[in-house]
């Protein structure tokens, strides 16, 4: 059994059939996982100024960049092992760097509150064994964490849920779109307008408090009724909800207080986003957007977005992430105008504009380590085949060595 790093479910029940040091077939992994494990067609090659070179030269050039930068950002981290992340944080400390990860414009707000224990949470195994009411909110798990419903939430028979999903569990979807997940939650799909989550939450809080909500009264009372009856409920908070209420995120805490039998689960995409958030939180008390000086300073201006807009970084090292593909176009020119080091197994948009590229091994396939599942459980990653590529942890070691 090996572990898939296709998403933060980190399915550790995968069989990989290896032939000639290649994964020939996968079993139990979903479509995305299977593709991930079999690997990309375009591996990255070491380069400087877009000219191919050898890896040692790439590392030397990187050392130059990180040493000479006045204010460098170390960014990415969500596709790295816990071990590489820990070393990345150490590197940031030594360099007095800014460190941020993709959670900065993803699920950071949510994970922060979970780690601060402002929101009740539980393990996925608890959900499998006990949950009777499941709410997918702004989350299309079927497409983002494809095995979520089958491994943990809706379909499996758990300790106190032995009679199968039709009888023992109820799945609800709240979304702006009838997603594949909403389709499965037949009869319990609540369509809301874009950016309508806040109003929906307010109305739901009213309904749960015994008041008559103004917003779609009938459906709201019906939903409140289901939620109140839950013995063990879970709200799976997707990126759709997080983005929609980002200006007033604590409204979610207010809702959770009205639902004492519910737990909040962050629906994380990248396989080790939570790992990075936990590691930085342990070190600094913050999940992202930190600048190391004498002490760790947290500020929104240290988010990758604001750092680029305000031009307060003069170089960036990106590990296992493709911000050129995932950030809004208007700030990409700012990203492309500073020295960029790109560490990744595959060619990406970012690697195409990078000053230096360093190819690394595919974690969970060519190198092992550990990672943290969306619910906080530590999962072991496997090395399935051998390759000449350096794991990112080793690249961090090399950089740490070179600067001390």
């Amino acid at each position: 059994m090996v572990t898939c790093t296709g998403c933060a479910l980190l399915c550790d029940d995968i069989e990989a059939i290896v032939e000639n040091n290649r994964i020939k077939e996968t079993r139990n992994a979903c479509r995305r996982g299977a593709a991930r494990m079999k690997g990309c067609v375009n591996r990255l090659v070491p380069s400087i100024d877009q000219q191919p070179t050898d890896i040692e030269s790439s590392i030397r050039k990187t050392v130059d960049i990180i040493k000479n930068a006045r204010s460098i950002m170390l960014f990415g981290w969500n596709n790295s092992t816990c071990e590489a992340q820990a070393k990345g944080i150490r590197l940031a400390k030594k360099l007095n760097a800014v460190i941020d990860d993709t959670s900065s414009f993803c699920q950071g707000l949510l994970i922060e509150r979970i780690l601060q224990k402002k929101l009740r949470t539980c393990s996925l195994d608890d959900i499998r064994n006990k949950a009777d009411v499941l709410v997918y909110w702004g989350s299309d798990a079927q497409d983002s964490q494809p095995r979520h419903l089958s491994r943990f939430s809706y379909f499996p028979r758990g300790e106190s849920r032995q009679r199968g999903y039709e009888e023992d569990r109820k799945a609800i979807a709240i979304d702006v779109r009838e997603s594949n997940t909403a389709k499965i939650c037949k009869g319990h799909f609540y369509r809301i307008p874009l950016k309508g989550d806040r109003e929906f939450i307010l109305a739901l809080i009213e309904a749960l408090s015994g008041k008559v909500p103004v917003y779609d009264t009938k459906k709201m009372l019906e939903l409140a009724g289901i939620l109140k009856k839950a013995e063990f409920g879970a709200i799976f908070v997707g990126i759709g909800l997080t983005y929609s209420i980002k200006e007033d995120f604590d409204i979610l805490i207010a809702l959770a207080e009205k639902l004492p039998n519910f737990n909040i689960m962050p629906m994380v995409g990248h396989y080790n986003m939570r790992g990075f958030n936990e590691a930085l939180f342990k070190e600094t008390g913050f999940v992202n957007r930190v600048k190391f000086e004498k002490e760790a300073i947290h500020d929104d201006k240290y988010s990758i977005m604001e750092s680029l807009i305000e031009k307060n970084i003069d170089a960036i090292m990106i590990v296992g992430s493709d911000p050129l593909a995932s950030l809004p176009r208007p700030i990409l020119k700012d990203l492309a105008s500073i020295p960029v080091v790109c560490i990744d197994p595959c060619i990406s948009m970012t690697s195409k504009i990078a000053t230096v590229t360093i190819p690394c091994a595919v974690t969970g396939v060519e190198s092992g380590g550990t990672a943290i599942r969306m619910d906080g459980k530590l999962i072991r990653l496997s090395k399935i085949i051998t390759s000449g590529y350096m794991p990112d942890e080793e690249i961090m070691d090399r950089l740490l060595e070179a600067i001390s």
Binding site: M1, D13, I14, E15, E25, T26, R27, N28, A29, C30, R31, R32, G33, A34, A35, R128, Q142, D143, P146, R147, L149, S150, R151, F152, Y154, F155, P156, R157, G158, G164, Y165, N180, T181, K183, I184, K186
Partner: protein, 152 residues
């Protein structure tokens, strides 16, 4: 998948009972469950019912690519989510501590398995739609997000 209604609408709908069933609807149900043959409805043999009869026969014919029992997985639609693996009552019964609990199947007696990110079906003779005490089970069709499973 053909529905009872589709079959019913092609029958003479006279409830003449010549097929041995009390109504045409009952006969349609029997056809779908493959308990009866189209030929049992003798009024259908009349010339003016020829197109209906042919349509019925083609609907009930297992189409190309189908397993002998009529279960088809469309691999291009399947996401490999495994919902069917875990929801199929046969898989639960035959592998309660593996597939039934949402884990990887632990034996070869299950009907559904995900290989290379797509489901393949085997042991289809175990499916509840077939055999002596067949029932019209939808437990793999309903949980499928993309309509990748079909019975013909």
């Amino acid at each position: 998948m053909v529905t009872v209604m589709e079959l019913y609408q092609l029958l003479p709908r006279t409830n003449c009972k010549k097929c041995g069933e009390s109504t045409c609807m009952a006969f349609a149900v029997a056809l779908l469950g493959r308990k009866k043959n189209v030929a049992a409805c003798t009024p259908l043999l009349e010339v003016n019912f020829k197109p209906q009869k042919e349509k019925l026969e083609s609907l009930l014919l297992p189409s190309a690519g189908a397993e002998e029992t009529g279960l088809i997985v469309h691999p291009e639609l399947c996401t490999g989510c495994g919902n069917c693996v875990v929801a199929c009552p046969v898989d639960v019964a035959n592998d309660p501590h593996g597939a039934g609990m949402g884990c990887a199947p632990t034996n070869d007696k299950v009907i559904f398995k995900v290989v290379d990110g797509k489901v393949i079906a085997s042991n289809i003779k175990e499916c509840r739609r077939f055999g002596k005490s067949r029932v019209l089970c939808y437990a793999c069709i309903d949980p499928c997000p993309t309509g990748a499973i079909e019975f013909v």
